[in-house]
Symmetry: D2
């Protein structure tokens, strides 16, 4: 639409699209509103729309993904959480915590320490997808309640994974951000529900997903009306076993060119080796990541899962100093430490 298009003119466009048998979606931007058209398999008669008043021009989105593309929305999406953490802006958001919630002492203790070091989002798994049916599968709802306690005490926002539809409803009650893990990136049924959950979604790239497939998975979320989607690069399968996965940092500028969604990096799963997490976290920031997700455990060698890739708290504190400097070197900063008092209620966004 033209930048001075009236709301009546926008409604005219929407109703014309409906008449033509398609769905219409207005996308307000800083300077002008765009109206997206979805549901067309082939050619649409653009002439009819172009002729309406207030219409600047008609742009054909050439990618199989529509709503996630930069063509659809030029401005970068910024996802804002309940405690004010913004993901996708100038500042880099740091999410940290243990692989799994193991006990009240563990999660509350580490949350205080991480907050003090500058993290503003706490991660911790309550439902763990495990390769073997005989491995520890997470604490379930008890774990979620402990995460909520940690939020109350520290003001950190919470991100935790949902692995199935029932779990998703439960996770949505307690958390600020619902994580969809790599193994579920193409679990379309779960994606659809996540899209309707009202929570921000952290969507991890599948183990051998192309960037295009990652964007198409995100399209499922946006197609359900959820604009608050954060992508996450966490390493892909490779022929070399020197690391657990091959962290594909180039995916960060590639996603930024194709999509308006923010993308963060998870160097903990991306490398699987504690000593490689620090250099690769630095590299992710230098490559342009909008955030980091780092595993930190009070006692990594006693962790119930992923101990080998979890940082010691002191290592995390050092890392925060390093990434802050890298962020400044590229004219960015770190999302500032929270000023909230302990105990302040910080609900989901």
């Amino acid at each position: 639409m033209k930048h001075d298009a009236s709301s009546t003119q926008i409604e005219d466009v929407v109703s014309t699209i409906h008449e033509m048998g398609y769905e219409a979606r207005p996308i307000p931007g800083r300077q002008r509103t765009a109206v997206g058209l979805i549901g067309n398999d082939g050619k649409v008669d653009a002439g009819r729309i172009e002729a309406l008043e207030g219409v600047l021009n008609v742009i054909h989105v050439t990618q199989p993904y529509k709503q996630v593309s930069r063509e659809w929305r030029e401005e970068g999406t910024v996802v804002t959480l309940g405690n004010g953490t913004r993901i996708g802006g100038r500042e880099i958001a740091v999410m940290a915590g243990p692989c799994a919630v193991e006990s009240e002492e563990q999660i509350i203790g580490i949350a205080h320490r991480l907050r003090a070091a500058g993290a503003t989002v706490l991660r911790g798994g309550a439902f763990k997808p495990r390769t073997s049916p005989y491995s520890f599968q997470g604490m379930g709802e008890i774990g979620l309640k402990l995460l909520a306690r940690a939020r109350e005490e520290t003001g950190m926002a919470i991100v935790t994974e949902a692995v199935d539809p029932e779990g998703l409803e439960m996770v949505a009650e307690y958390t600020d951000v619902i994580q969809i893990g790599a193994r579920n990136m193409q679990n379309y049924s779960l994606l659809r529900r996540a899209g309707r959950s009202g929570r921000a979604i952290l969507l991890k790239r599948g183990m051998s997903a192309t960037v295009k497939e990652l964007l198409l998975a995100a399209e499922y979320l946006l197609a359900e009306g959820n604009p608050n989607v954060i992508l996450c690069e966490r390493g892909v399968r490779s022929f070399d076993t020197h690391t657990r996965n091959l962290l594909d940092l180039t995916a960060i500028p590639v996603v930024h060119a194709l999509s308006h969604l923010p993308i963060i990096a998870d160097p903990s799963h991306g490398t699987g080796i504690r000593a490689k997490v620090i250099p690769m976290a630095r590299a992710a920031v230098a490559a342009g990541a909008d955030g980091l997700m780092i595993e930190v455990h009070p006692q990594p060698d006693r962790a119930l899962s992923d101990g080998a890739q979890s940082l010691y708290p002191e290592q995390f504190e050092d890392l925060m100093g390093q990434i802050e400097q890298i962020a400044h070197a590229i004219d960015r900063g770190i999302v500032p430490s929270l000023v909230l008092e302990s105990g302040a209620r910080v609900g989901p966004a």
Copy 2:
């Protein structure tokens, strides 16, 4: 257990294992019964069990997967379907049909033709997991009803995919074999329900899953008490785009060495190109596959999905002749054509 162990002796072993705090699972074999012990994280006091009467010896299963391994059960598993089709025996089972059920005419028509050519299991998707949210997602329950009609008319058994827990309950009502697709191979929540469904399960290898991960996914099914599991090699991700996937036929003898479960091959998804399906179907049989799953469509160029990899019916008829000869060359045969009358009711196994 010794081959002449009495049922009282077996019960003694089971109750001793329970007393020790583990789960016990008797596994009757042709010559002797084995008793499996699960739930142990570390060492088990084998001495106490070895001392019981009727016990031949205690074998430690060294793999992370237990119940799917050849160490746990030496004899190959044979999955028998309601219409008598046996998968995992001397004879090779052929499953064929269109990618998706599209109409009554399409599915009934092709079923008659496939049956006449010698296939005994009909495939056809009613729920399609699609990379894009805007693609055709299948006919749902209407498609399932059409598959059931085709079974009634032809006597063929039915295999169709379930993509989420609700769908799985519905699919289980109509089908002989529930397919878990490549994208859901590590959807553990779905696997657990499939394990409790009472139906045979066709588990497809994930796009970048190792054989070990495939076996661990199957372990989820057996851990829920479902022994009727068929594995399926359908190609993995590769750097070369000359085919849609890279069909890893070596996985067939590898699985046969590690596991007692039958494994079939899907050269349609494994290659993605019609002209390559025939030579690779032949190669799969020569490599030792226990069955084939082949996409055949009455009019491939009008197919709503996967037309490029679907055979013409005439090609399928030729192929049946070729694979029968290959099967004989390695002392196997094809599961014989059904002798059932049209209209005979052939329920799930």
Copy 3:
């Protein structure tokens, strides 16, 4: 050219192409002669050539590879060796032998046994490219002399690898077929010399080479005027370690569609595990391979290299029976055992 074009007309076309500043290459076929034009970067004025007498039509080769493509030459190439073995015809050629020549007793002994079992080409490395500089690197010229002795005694043709330009001259003196190994598939300097060697070339696919890159490497050989090129699929890099490499048998029908060159399979390197060589050799034949290359060692556990993937002689004898049956099942056969007397001189082709 038209099928009744005279040699004068062909010469006219050749000289016209020269005048236009390009290279011309006549390609006689069973029914007609084609004339290839190389050296053009962009568009060529086809009109001028089409206007010449005897010219049927002008075909633009659309691939980056020219002379190896089916567009360039429709009939399949058959490479004939000095002892009459034909590779690329109706019959499947079997090449077998130890990884490396280790002693006179070893190579002569195994050659007699392989010949008796039906192999007509003897393999054995004299120059071994090894990942570590401290591993056994082959017997060099002494090994070549032993191979020549084995040829004299058995009538088998010889294939052995050359790893550098000097070695190539030496290998060319002794062998019927010069092997260019996977690591050297893009060693263009070596390829050019191999193209000028006057010997048939066995070109192995590189560890992560696409089929297109394999064909472009073969193009280097044909561009030097050597039409006797045999391609070899020997497995590519994969994320799964269950086998040494991932044998990509689909490459066989893919190559047959794109190129007129014969292609064989090497299931020994392709799997790296003795027990998998037999099923995959069968599968290669069923997929349409024009030949096999199999490692057989009199005492695999004492082999200086690749023992774990070498068959015992008895296993090879069994395998020959199996692949003969598979070959018949697809209307092919095995290149017949040699009728030459021991001691008959069988020179390079």
Copy 4:
């Protein structure tokens, strides 16, 4: 050896090793001298050596690579070039230039501009390994002479690729650093000659080489007595085509942990896309790379090869500013601009 071991004691150790039938190699370090023993296949009688005077202890190198490992030499290797550029020290070395030398004007012009921006090593191919035999293969010796001219005029050191043994002798006459390209990483014959060339070697990781294979290839160079080896990560093969290769930056800290050799990154080949070179160059520095190799062309869209991944000179100037800041953020710097006058003779090291 003990830190106060005398040279007579060292000689005693060397001659004892010789007596035992192995090769000995003294490795002088900052604090003490080590003596390496090579040529042992299995166990060595360490007792005999430990008993000698001046011996501190005997360390068994457990990796298949010996001389490149950190176990063999704890201190990082610093390679110093003729113009004073040090690779492997605290400062990061920047190598830049066009893919191929195309003309005097092109190479001299860009060299001046790159030097002014802070690069101290000039890259430019005179021999190009090309996938197709019909592509531009480089200017050969004329290109080498032009590189030498550029060195005379600017004081920059020169790095250029050798692709075969004859070319290597010629390249060694003109260049400071000989590049062994990815396709030749396992061309052992070429590696051995490069090891004897007296020049520093830049060894690029093969397209699907593991880090272990890269180190074993470097071992060939060190085994010939050449300690001046620089490794280079330049991207590996991947299933995703969003970039030309998948730049594996984690290989940098992995190599630093396993080996004392310096490692640089080539984000130009690693991504193949101009817009991704800048973020990935920054990321490589943040990950700990000892240097960068960047393609810059005065007119990328007219480049004879690799134009799509070559930076414009202005982009390179911006990049230098960015990486300098990143280097400072991790307590490193950039190798300082040369102070030499134009025309000063700067020979190979």
